[in-house]
Symmetry: D2
Subunit: 301 residues, 4 copies
């Protein structure tokens, strides 16, 4: 039976690791913040005290970290510490499920490959709810072999598992999707607000657009106008869900990629900057559909 | 049996009137351009030589005209001609299916009501293909009574018939939907192009987004990247479909409405201006998904 | 000696009329709000009780009104009142200094010309301060003859008087200038805020840009960052000056003109929508340089 | 007498080094492309064959390189080569005049300081013409001591020398200025094109805006409409001047900085993306004022 090392036990990583345990897999865990490991220990995980010991003897290493610099530091090392790659045995599979820049993913992936270690970048979509329910979507980059190995593990944490292309493509696929999502949400807020300002009922307008060419994911599952959809964050004082600051981060990754490839992303760039303006007013921990309030006049709020 | 007067027999109006004839209704038709009436005459329509005679004895009057100024001129008159309202008998139902500014719709609707004439603004979505197939979507504004009367007629030309609210709401609903659509399409072009520029396969990326939070109408039915979707205009040299110049017009109506209601539409305004830039390069008669080419570098085209 | 009729005695019109009186000209005045005429009566103006009597025997008629619909209603009439053009004698010069859409200016100008009345559209720039000091800039549209006649009067209220072209060009010239101004101010707020967020001193940065290729009117005379320029509204709690709602109106006129001419104005449209978002938060009566606060994070404010 | 090492002899670096020679200073030069050193050798420079020998015994080291990665590689080293810092003697002054990200400048500056080497980041503005004429503007970051030392050398190559703040501030100041410039130029193209589309003469409109609140550097010195200003690149088929691809690069640096500081730069981001779209059509080597053509309809070009 395989042993899985799981590093990074936050809002997403915690429930993901729990689903591996629920699938009766052998799981070792580590997080800088000790207390985060507690619920996993209760569920049968082996809690480790440092990075090196968690990857020891692991057949699969999964990381769920905040940004590219953390992923590079953990695997490749930094000025004050050796990278984990030197401690991971040949033939191991690394799955990095963090959402980071594709360049960092490629750097780590290439270094892993040189050492005979499999690597897949596998960022997720689906939020905390999807992590808990085990219904996450994984967008995976890596060789065919890495992808097929990763699939065996990821299936316990998610529902849809896509192979986007070679190393880095998982991150790139997620970046494109979330650029699209940022545009969808911004546009949906804008269209609904325009209708309301002109006397339309947001439920009626939502229903019309849902069945017409304005249809999109936000209208279907995540209506940003309070009261239109009972279970959406908008109807629960914008409790997340997916926080505005994470949308800002993902759109920032989109702009960074576009700058590097000299691509044009005027709509994504505008959405990013509207989120930056919205977040600065103290809304960064609200659900990202709270952008709807940014569009509303003081009088209507 | 009711008599229907149909004014405006262009790309959309022609096939719409034909569907009424196919439903065995009694139809009188008129267009400034004589030749446009020919196919309808062949199908059994009574062709009239002027506006006044077409509405005479009609129980329902339908107009399908290019812009608000034409609708106002036809019904309310202009410096050199009396408006049709003075020739339409009390109790008649007017359905204006043109896509125009809500203010013009309200002006005509209010004047009709004063004379005891029912009025519904009922712009369509679904394009020429929908008009021919009788599968148009109608977004209707007007009183409950006007809406129910209109429904009886519209069902012969369309599939989804929405009641958006009082007079003018049909136009407003369409404006909001098409603002959303313009944003969706622009965003979809942008996300796909960003992926391609970074090595992703557009089919794979489209599939990923379709099953993730980037899902939207354009990805589902109208992929703008050539070769991804066999039946989309993109795979047929961007033959319309829905022309770029019509998207520019509709987004212009959105901006006009936003200016009047002091609403914020940064994303819609940007989409409008990207279409303006694209159209200026000689693309206004191409399908609106041709915006994809605007995003591509010369080298990739 | 010529008699000048002055209609519209608000923040701008009042001090403008006063400057005509200070130049010892014969001035008749009218405003819907009686009390606004008081200071002018004190300064020697003849106060009239209705529109018709104020233009009687006038050699020059000046209007300073809020929007195109008011200008059209006053000169061309409305459903319940005849237009002033029928009461103005041949050979009179009309100067409309309102800021309105060029189409309304052309409508009134053409109707005036048909009756042998001279017309010049002459919107102003320079704000209330310029109106009081008699240092306004006038951007004038009209025939050479109208322009030369208008110049004789305008010189008592302003310093720079430009002939922009035929009727309507005054409005168009002002629209272009204020679109530029809206972009300058938005960009200046953005560049300064970016520098501050990255540790630069706004005075030092302003000084650098002033002497480099970022130089512009806002940096020279109207720095939007509090404390940089002693006499700017920014250093006086954004007391206007030129109100945010007026900038929103002018940018709206720019978008309307662009929609009609199918021109692309992505930057102006974005500036308009940023002002709309800013104003909705309750800032519409603050000076337009208050947009700087829209860019600042809560923490820095 | 001091010896100056000059590394990077391209369009900018070449003429800058020549001005140092013209000032009778002792100059050693190096470039990867041998031929670029020829004109400087003719003017009296000592040509070196590698990086190490050019900095040997130099009192001042100046670099003029394309991007942050080159500057980091030269001074800090890369996987296959030691950095120059280990070869530069204590007390030497490094002036990096490249336009790069502030973070790279800070990395090099901090590493220099640790070794007792002075460092100033001193990007330039003024283009090739300014480099030749010795009228460049330098925006300098560094300690007071570094700034004063740098000033002694920079005065031979430029006219305005600003101290923007501590290390990295020179880059940040230039980034803010060029973000402003990108916005100015885009806005100026847009305002002029809107006027032309509506019948105004671009010379008349330019003159009006120059003397009104639309005044800015582009209108004053660099009018983007052909024929308005005889000496501007616009009147010389957009021969640079300052190439569109360099404006794209600088706006990209602005977005990168804004992403890191979580600042909002909607206008700068839009300008960046309009330049990306313009450049993709094959215009990247034209002067950056050629964006004017991007706004023009095919018919007007």
């Amino acid at each position: 039976m395989e042993t899985i090392a799981f590093i990074g036990l936050g809002n997403m990583g915690g429930p993901m690791a729990l689903n591996l345990l629920n699938a009766k897999l052998s799981v070792k865990v580590y997080d800088l913040v000790d207390s985060l490991a507690k619920p996993l220990a209760d569920a049968g995980a082996t809690v480790c005290q440092d990075l090196q010991s968690v990857v020891e003897d692991a057949d699969v290493v999964i990381t769920m970290l905040p940004a590219g610099e953390h992923v590079r530091a953990v695997y490749l090392g930094s000025s004050d510490r050796q990278g984990l790659l030197t401690h991971i045995k040949q033939g191991t599979l690394i799955i990095d499920s963090s959402t980071i820049d594709p360049e960092s993913a490629r750097l780590v992936g290439d270094a892993a490959q040189e050492r005979g270690i499999y690597f897949a970048d596998a960022p997720v979509s689906g939020g905390v709810a999807g992590a808990k329910a085990g219904t996450l979507t994984f967008i995976v980059g890596g060789s065919d072999e890495s992808f097929h190995k990763a699939q065996q593990v990821l299936q316990h944490m998610g529902k849809n598992i896509f192979h986007a292309g070679p190393t880095g493509s998982g991150q790139m696929g997620k970046i494109c999707n979330n650029l699209m999502l940022g545009i969808l949400m911004t546009g949906t807020c804008e269209a609904l607000n325009l209708g309301i300002d002109n006397g339309l009922d947001p439920k009626v307008l939502s229903n019309i657009m849902l069945q017409s060419s304005g249809r999109n994911w936000a209208l279907e599952l995540y209506n940003p106008c309070p009261g239109v959809m009972e279970n959406a964050p908008a109807s629960n004082r914008y409790q997340p869900g997916f926080m505005s600051k994470l949308m800002l981060k993902d759109l920032g990754l989109g702009l960074e990629a576009a700058t590097k490839s000299q691509s044009s992303v005027p709509m994504g760039a505008l959405a990013r900057n509207l989120y930056a303006l919205h977040n600065m007013q103290g809304n960064e921990e609200l659900d990202f559909s709270s952008l709807f309030e940014f569009y509303q006049s003081k009088a209507n709020k």
